[in-house]
Subunit: 559 residues, 2 copies
């Protein structure tokens, strides 16, 4: 084989999905020679639909930092996507959690809700991934990336001077570096035996999911209407039906004004130790058998019909011993995965891509791809996985008791809030100065994005200890919950207006005018100095019109 | 095998694309038990993107006749699709034909254009098929159809009392009737050896196609701008670059206000006798080699990049000996195909589905599926194929000489106009009376929808005779063209304002106020009685605002 016969790319990225498309866009825009290798083709179905504030905030940072106008203009909020990319996405104004007990009607007082503050750039989104993933890939092509579809890499050879990839059809590609964005079936992970067997993850869940038509908004099935007393309809956001041993996601694409998509994403997560996978029924039958046990959940799906095949998985957790090696690294979804709970997939992916792109660009320039230069990526991924695992596993444990979930919910809310505050502050400073040292990847990786606050980090760990002690049988759910509420009461860095220490306040309404104004006033005056510092300029991020109007979500469009 | 173990569907439809989805929607809405069997899944790429007025007119008739609100509200114009289905479609305000000679800059005086009249319901569309086909399938599901994806039928057994379909995975399905909407690779056609080998078609072409980014509007490459003197920019419609031995389609999805799709569909049709398929280059390389021979076409693609794999076919014409048999029929794209020229695929499909659905519903009711009841379908498909073949083949022949194309163009324009007039008139009467006897499928099938006028039928045949005589070398292009212009001059049923007999008037502008008003006045006063009869009520179909404003197509959005 004569090497000069092959063009050598700076980077070969495996997988042209969200991760590959976004990284490919950034690197190609920055002038790198990018090759995307995709085993399938667009359009194609994918899950990973629900964003958190961290996603669009990170995308804005990426857009500015790497000078990608398409990301800034078209892909930085549900609004910009709707206007410029696709009208198939839904809107996410809240995270809702409705607690169910087997064989019983749902008790309207057992639920929690986090209302997302109305920032200037619009609401969070339910991403219709087929359109988003092709948008990102086509944007990468627009900036010069080369894509090979329907190409599966059968072998990879990494030498001191570069990488050779051979497809199952015998095509040969050369690159200086390989990034694997192909997910669980990562070729690199297989080749270099990177997977931990068994996985070190504590979370234990399997998944059934599809897209459905005619899903009734849960709100319409509750009698009397509004009995839950939550600030927003469940249908305005991502609804999580939680129960002992699992949870069910309901992610509407049809809950946004002007949406042309009648579908709703529906996914059931089950701990197979509590809910063993049946071997003699179809996934659809399993879903319906499951609903028979939960009458209030079932009502939402009485008229619902799947428009595509149900997917039923085995256990979905996996982890890797290493995620970085000589001239390669695995991206977030190829490195490990916990569970869709709390929608951690997309923020982790964006955080990783932001940190990876700058390191790759430096490596291309210096022609130095030694793994030490990517050590940050390795540590970040491992720590993110471990924190996420603990968070999600504790949430699953807490699903055994509404009282405990009601407490642990606050732990997550507080972390999300602190993380948002921190990233928003960093973004504001970066926009003003273009100083990369204010960005998260200039600091030591510290796991979940909200674990940088030492007080919160301690609280998180103590709360998890209690939940795990409950699982071990050494403390009751009631006592564990009470302990968590005490931790909340002592957290002077938590905005008082959110009432996190009050068990009777089961929601945090960051979309409500008085609450938001109180929180802003606290941030600017009496918050601890480290928190106060991050609050400067926050008023300019809020959208006063949206804050005051609280427009009701439109009725879901019928197909 | 115990038959009672299987649910028996009224109809099993093979293929959940445009045809299967639309027929499935109608039949399910009318209460039939519909099974759709699809070898792939949604979303998926498809071509067949450009509509003609006949498509939406027929869809309106179908929506009213079969009481399908989704078709009436969401799928009856580019406007309703944009608002309710997807913002990924383009708009088609004209059919443009630009004549090229190998090795030469394009001569601005060698082109023709048919501007589509601005009817009340909006313009024609460039359908982004992945969204349209899933919309139709999901609508069928919404009305109760069952879909099996990723299911290939390996065997079909048709008995006196019903049909048994067995998938390659061994699944068994039972139905009373089978409709094959799976296209060229029709299982039924293979099983019953229905294909004509060789095909009886005269047209001879192969195809290369893809979707591209950054296609420059052809208008922007012409110096000076507007040199062609055509009423509309090429970019406002479907642009056909025509040349000896083939043509190239340019179908923008980004030419409509509010479109979120940056792509343009590009397809090259070549007569392999003139342009043999090379065996040593990729389709993309062939496309670029081709462009090297046509400098003016090449300018449009200087910055263009394919976002998906090029598809390169062998000869695309095929035909069937029979399309209807015991308990089965083939739909339009499984029966035969000529060429995408003149966008005959979708109107043929809609015409067939309108005629087939009513016959199927009657057969379900009477429990009588004898092939005689579907004889209309058989004759219609065969005649449509033959007329379309002659039309397209003569167009390809005429591409050898711009003078001849300039004449033959009029033959097509006149036929399209008469066909529209006839169908619009039938629709108007049907809306008023709901009398099915006014609809096309109540009459004898007479081939291309525009061949019902005896005068025009004779003109069409004489014109084709002349073109074919030119091909045979017995008449010159000049004399053939002159003869066709003479036929036009004698056609008293052709609206004088369209100047079809004047070779110097190279366009028909049915979007221009004075022309339209003259044509309407002629229709209502001095047209021959049979034409006049169809013109009644035509004013109510026009959109006066659009007629007067002639809004310029927006600049194509960049990705």
């Amino acid at each position: 084989m004569i090497e000069s016969a092959y063009e050598t790319y700076d980077v070969a990225i495996l997988g042209a999905g969200f991760e590959g498309g976004l990284l490919g866009t950034i690197l190609a825009r920055q002038g790198a020679k990018v090759l995307l290798i995709e085993s399938g083709t667009h359009p194609r179905f994918a899950v990973g639909e629900s964003t958190v504030r961290h996603v669009f905030r990170m995308l804005k940072i990426i857009g500015e930092r790497y000078d990608v106008p398409e990301i800034i203009e078209k892909f930085s909020s549900a609004d910009s996507i709707h206007k410029h990319v696709t009208t198939m996405c839904g809107e996410k104004r809240n995270f809702g959690f409705v607690y169910h007990r087997e064989g019983q009607d749902q008790n309207a007082s057992e639920c929690t809700q986090l209302v997302i503050p109305p920032f200037r750039e619009g609401y969070e989104a339910h991403l219709y991934r087929q359109d988003i993933d092709s948008f990102l890939t086509y944007t990468a092509i627009n900036h010069g990336a080369t894509v090979h579809y329907r190409t599966s890499i059968a072998d990879i050879d990494i030498q001191d001077d570069g990488c050779t990839l051979t497809s199952s059809q015998g095509d040969v590609f050369k690159s200086r570096y390989i990034v694997d964005g192909s997910g669980y079936r990562s070729v690199l992970a297989m080749k270099f035996r990177l997977r931990e067997e068994p996985s070190r993850c504590s979370t234990f869940s399997r998944s059934l999911f599809t897209h459905m038509l005619n899903v009734t908004p849960y709100d319409a099935t509750v009698t009397p209407r509004g009995a839950h007393g939550m600030p927003q309809p469940w249908y305005s956001g991502t609804c999580h039906h939680i129960f002992d041993g699992g949870w069910l996601w309901v992610i509407p694409f049809n809950n946004r004004e002007g949406s042309t998509n009648p579908l709703v994403s529906v996914g059931l997560q089950l701990d197979p130790r509590r809910w063993p996978k049946p071997r003699d029924v179809t996934p659809e039958q399993e879903f319906h058998h499951f609903l028979e046990r939960f009458p209030s959940m079932a009502a939402q799906f009485e008229k619902a019909r799947a428009v595509r095949d149900w997917v039923s998985t085995e256990r979905i957790q996996f982890s890797s011993k290493r995620t970085v090696g000589d001239r390669y690294c695995l991206m977030a979804h190829a490195s490990g995965f916990i569970d869709p709970l709390f929608s951690r997939g997309l923020p982790n992916a964006c955080e990783l891509i932001n940190a990876l792109a700058v390191r790759l660009l430096r490596a291309f320039k210096d022609d130095d791809f030694s793994p030490e230069r990517f050590d940050y990526i390795e540590r970040m991924q491992q720590i993110n996985l471990d924190y996420n695992d603990r968070l999600v596993n504790c949430a699953y444990i807490s699903f055994k008791s509404f009282e405990l979930w009601n407490a642990f919910f606050r732990v997550w809310v507080l972390g999300v809030g602190l993380g948002d505050l921190r990233l928003t502050s960093a973004h504001r400073r970066f926009t003003a100065t273009h100083d990369e040292s204010v960005l998260p990847d200039a600091e030591e990786p510290m796991g979940l994005f909200f674990a940088h606050h030492t007080g919160y980090k301690k609280l998180f760990e103590e709360a998890c200890d209690k939940v795990e002690a409950f699982e071990a049988g050494t403390v009751s759910a009631h006592d564990a919950a009470r302990h968590i509420f005490e931790l909340m009461a002592a957290a002077d860095y938590a905005a008082p207006a959110n009432h996190l220490a009050d068990p009777s306040k089961r929601y945090v309404d960051q979309g409500e005018t008085v609450t938001v104004l109180k929180t802003v006033a606290w941030l600017l005056t009496s918050a601890p100095p480290d928190i106060k510092k991050m609050g400067g300029g926050i008023l300019s991020d809020l959208n006063p019109r949206r804050l005051m109007s609280r427009k009701v979500t439109p009725e879901p469009s019928a197909i």
